[in-house]
Symmetry: C3
Subunit: 124 residues, 3 copies
């Protein structure tokens, strides 16, 4: 069984009062939306960033410290809501910062229903 300081995070905004559903250990900073790892290990991260209708393509990067690890895209111009999704296993050092960055485009139309999740798969 994994310990409770595993570094769980989750963000959504279905309902602002529920915008973070799970945050065991409080390693996900609600103000900055940055996750800071409580320990070294392999983590699983996944995200679904939903853009509302606009004519721009978005590119979302998953960042580890200042380095972009993976990207996802949403570029259809004819649909109301579309998600830029991806997921990854990462080797994370203690105190590494993991977060999402909007590399291209805007979310001016809103990003309701977006999620960002992660958990420790096992410590190293």
């Amino acid at each position: 069984m994994r310990s409770l300081d595993s570094g769980l995070l989750y963000a959504s905004n279905w309902d602002p009062s529920q915008s973070v559903l799970v945050n065991i250990g409080n390693h996900f900073d609600l103000k900055t939306s940055v996750f800071q790892a409580p320990r070294r290990g392999i983590y699983s991260f996944s995200f679904h960033v939903v853009k509302v209708y606009n004519r721009q393509t978005i590119q979302v990067n998953l960042m580890q410290n200042d380095y972009p690890v993976i990207s996802a895209f949403a570029g259809d111009q004819d649909v109301t809501r579309e998600a830029a999704s991806n997921g990854v296993l990462l080797m994370v050092e203690r105190e590494d910062r993991v977060y999402l960055k909007l590399e291209r485009g805007t979310l001016m139309g809103g990003w309701k229903y977006s999620t960002f999740s992660g958990f420790l798969v096992f410590p190293l």
Copy 2:
């Protein structure tokens, strides 16, 4: 190591005879497609609901008991198959029910290749 009553679930219909690939503990009810948690803990859930060509937008909700937790959308009118996907970490109480609900649109054209998966990340 996590115990085998962790509450695994998975549904697809690549092949009807294989429509549930993994169901450790049988906490996923094949008739109702509802997962009932065998214990309190943090669970990871993800889904990919594939709609076949039709002119409707679908919205799929992940439900915890009677509450919608996250949503996903598929609304492109010009593609044959498109997935409404999302994923989440959830704090689940023992006997909570977790399931998918088609909030908007229809899957009349079919939903082959759809998946719904979950597992206990750690017990609380």
Copy 3:
């Protein structure tokens, strides 16, 4: 805590020198892109195969040995990058081979930003 031979894999090509970020135990063969399970258990696999603009629909299968388990599709003709994504929990026997197969279409325009990840949820 799970042991380090859990069978982790991850592939991306954000940067060719970083094309495999995590490969604990080296069960993911970099030449063939095949994962061979080090032990029997329940594994979680997910993939996001990103196609670059072309006019073809792609179908990507997740294969267990010679059997297709799940599929994902990307078929929009008007967007620059689009992902065929899906994920699954699988009962895997020791030495089973798990890999992606492009069942339909081509990735001639490139597949940069694609990912394929998996980890042992628990051994059986």
